[in-house]
């Protein structure tokens, strides 16, 4: 039934992408693609992770590599952002979809990816530390904002995640003024009960 169907499709999709990344993942390929300076497509290697902004995650998952270097669409992992109030976070299966194949170019990547695989084998989901945390009395329907501002609008609130080795809070999303500014500019409703109920 549907379950299995979706599983197959999902698996296939993942595999396909994995294949691409398998090449893209190898440093040589990356260098070839990398046009110097101007477009920093290649995410830098990071030695001192301590100096990075944002909370330390159980696994050093690098958005700048996944979303920046490899240009994976946000929605590939945050699958429900366009259809639901919640963006959704990828299941371990989604990670493994690629990382069954992709095992990382350099040592640091290897170690981190190993953590993912271990977690998967241990059937123990990774407990990510939450970065963006909207106050409980404010409702933010992600799908409507994606609908209105387009799939790349994530940056409006979350900042240039594609350039963040470690995600940090780019904007104070709990500052109501932050929301109101946008709503004023775009002449959309400022009615309190749109968000507060």
């Amino acid at each position: 039934m549907m379950r299995t169907l979706a599983f197959v499709l999902g698996g296939a999709g993942a595999a396909g992408l994995a294949a691409v990344l398998a090449f893209g993942g190898s440093p040589s390929a990356a260098q070839q693609q990398a046009t110097p300076a101007a477009d920093s497509a290649t995410a830098p290697a990071i030695i001192d992770t301590g100096s990075l902004k944002g909370p330390r995650q159980p696994i050093f998952f690098r958005h700048d590599i996944h979303a920046g270097q490899f240009k994976i669409q946000c929605q590939y992992c945050h699958y429900s952002v366009a259809v639901s109030t919640e963006p959704g976070i990828p299941s371990m299966q989604t990670c493994m979809g690629c990382h069954l194949v992709v095992s990382g170019s350099d040592s640091s990547a290897k170690t981190e990816i190993k953590k993912v695989r271990d977690a998967w084998n241990a059937k123990q989901p990774v407990e990510w530390v939450r970065v963006h945390f909207l106050a409980r009395h404010a409702h933010f329907p992600h799908q409507r904002h994606i609908k209105a501002l387009g799939p790349s609008a994530c940056t409006t609130c979350h900042g240039e995640v594609a350039r963040m080795p470690q995600v940090f809070k780019a904007n104070n999303i709990n500052n109501m003024g932050f929301c109101i500014t946008c709503h004023l500019e775009r002449k959309v409703s400022r009615d309190c009960s749109v968000c507060h109920y």
């Binding site: 500052n175 109501m176 003024g177 109101i180």
Partner: protein, 457 residues
């Protein structure tokens, strides 16, 4: 020194001041400093009560307002009652100090300082209640129009906002009025005392020397302050009354509320004035400055305002009956005959009837009687607010929601605390500042003249 005083034309004989100006300074300054054990006991009691209130408040903040005797639909009860009570107390002070000043009524002189102090501290007490009473005490400042990241402003259509402005204005202006009036007296004290106290009073007297130039601006300013305070005091309790009159609760939305409340406020204030200065004048040994004459006048004012209340009460019932509005009628029927009849009758007897005793001069000039009556007035006026607020809320439009109210320890705790807080400040003031206006008393003493004109030798 021997004194040959003669009555001044514009003054009643009772007001003869049998002292020289030097005596006045000496006597009044004498009331300061050194605290008697009695005083310390009183002060201790006041502080104790205040601490009880503080503890209660902390518990309310911790757990929520549930501890207080709120039985919906009675969403306002003892706290708002006490709030209105204290606001009311304030009014007599401003009346005596400002309004009677404008009317050039001589007898105010001896008492106005104490009543003014009472005003300031009563308003200070009242100002606590909006905070105590709200559900989330820690965000009370949202009622102020301050720029914030939410880009939100308060709702100026709400009578509570009017309250915020009325009360803060009233507090500011009446304290300014008090302090302003104090300056020359503080200077007088400064010139009498020594040591560290001198330093303190020197600072407090902000360099007052009583030069003609200072007096010239001072007297003018004082006049205008009085002129501003007079409409203010009338407005403040009108605004408070509009908290109720503007709503649609039966027995609240009455057009007579503003004058009715102002009269009530002054009435209750006068009650408190009597309660305070009858013991005070003895305690401070200033009997000869606050005389029967003052009490007679205070009592007459009390009688007047009391009678206005009497009239307002009867009007309320009459209008309820005449309007044919079933909601009003039910409420007013249940006031004296409903489940909270005890409160209803306390209010009517203590205010409407007891005040009528003051038609008799014997009673007006008998301090014991006056003191007892003043206590009745205080109780009665607290209950008036209780009845207006609680018993009106307990039975409004939807019978299904009707309910009764019984106060709890939390209500009493806060009430006691408010008296403690008030008493604490008043007592501290009485010992540290001239409780009788030195310069204005002196103003009434004939200046010595070398050409015959009175004075001494």
């Amino acid at each position: 020194m021997a004194v040959v005083a003669r009555p001044l034309p514009d003054r009643a004989p009772e007001l003869e001041i049998t002292q020289t100006q030097a005596d006045v300074t000496r006597d009044v300054v004498g009331t300061l400093g050194r605290a008697s054990t009695g005083y310390l006991l009183l002060l201790g009691g006041a502080v104790g009560l205040f601490l009880v209130g503080l503890l209660t408040f902390l518990i309310l903040v911790k757990d929520g307002l549930g501890h207080a005797g709120y039985n919906p639909p009675i969403f306002w009860a003892v706290f708002i009652t006490t709030f209105v009570f204290w606001i009311g107390i304030g009014h007599a002070g401003t009346l005596i100090s400002a309004i009677l000043f404008l009317f050039r009524s001589p007898w105010r002189t001896a008492v106005y300082r104490s009543t003014e102090a009472m005003t300031v501290f009563a308003v200070m007490t009242a100002a606590l209640f909006p905070i105590i009473h709200i559900g989330r005490q820690w965000v009370f400042y949202w009622l102020l129009p301050y720029p914030n990241q939410r880009w939100l402003w308060p709702n100026f259509k709400s009578p509570l906002l009017w309250d915020v402005f009325a009360i803060s204005t009233y507090f500011t202006v009446s304290s300014v009025f008090l302090v302003f009036g104090l300056i020359p007296d503080v200077a007088a004290v400064r010139d009498k005392v020594t040591g560290w106290r001198r330093t303190v009073y020197t600072l407090a007297s902000v360099g007052w020397q009583g030069t003609d130039n200072q007096w010239r601006h001072y007297t003018r300013a004082y006049l205008y302050l009085a002129a501003l305070a007079t409409p203010l005091v009338l407005s403040v309790h009108s605004v408070v009354s509009w908290d109720f009159a503007v709503s649609i609760v039966p027995a609240w939305h009455g057009t007579i509320f503003a004058p009715y409340f102002v009269a009530g406020a002054i009435y209750s204030g006068l009650g408190m004035v009597l309660t305070l200065i009858i013991p005070l004048r003895r305690a401070l040994g200033i009997e000869q400055m606050i005389t029967k004459y003052h009490f007679d006048n205070l009592a007459k004012l009390t009688l007047l305002t009391g009678s206005i209340l009497f009239y307002s009460y009867s009007m309320e019932y009459f209008v309820a009956w005449y309007s044919g509005n079933t909601f009003e009628q039910t409420t007013f029927f249940r006031r004296p005959f409903g489940s909270m009849w005890w409160a209803g009758w306390t209010m009517i007897i203590c205010n409407a009837f007891v005040s009528q005793l003051l038609w008799f001069r014997k009673i007006r000039t008998n301090l014991t009687a006056l003191f007892v009556i003043s206590i009745f007035i205080n109780i009665g006026m607290w209950f008036e607010r209780f009845v207006i607020i609680v018993s009106s809320l307990s039975n409004d439009y939807i019978p299904w929601a009707w309910s009764d109210m019984n106060p709890t320890w939390a209500d009493w705790g806060i009430l006691a605390g408010s008296f403690g807080w008030f008493g604490m400040w008043f007592l501290l003031f009485a010992k540290s500042f001239p409780i009788v206006a030195i310069q204005e008393i002196k103003e009434m003493i004939p200046m010595p003249r070398k050409r015959g004109g009175g004075g001494h030798h």
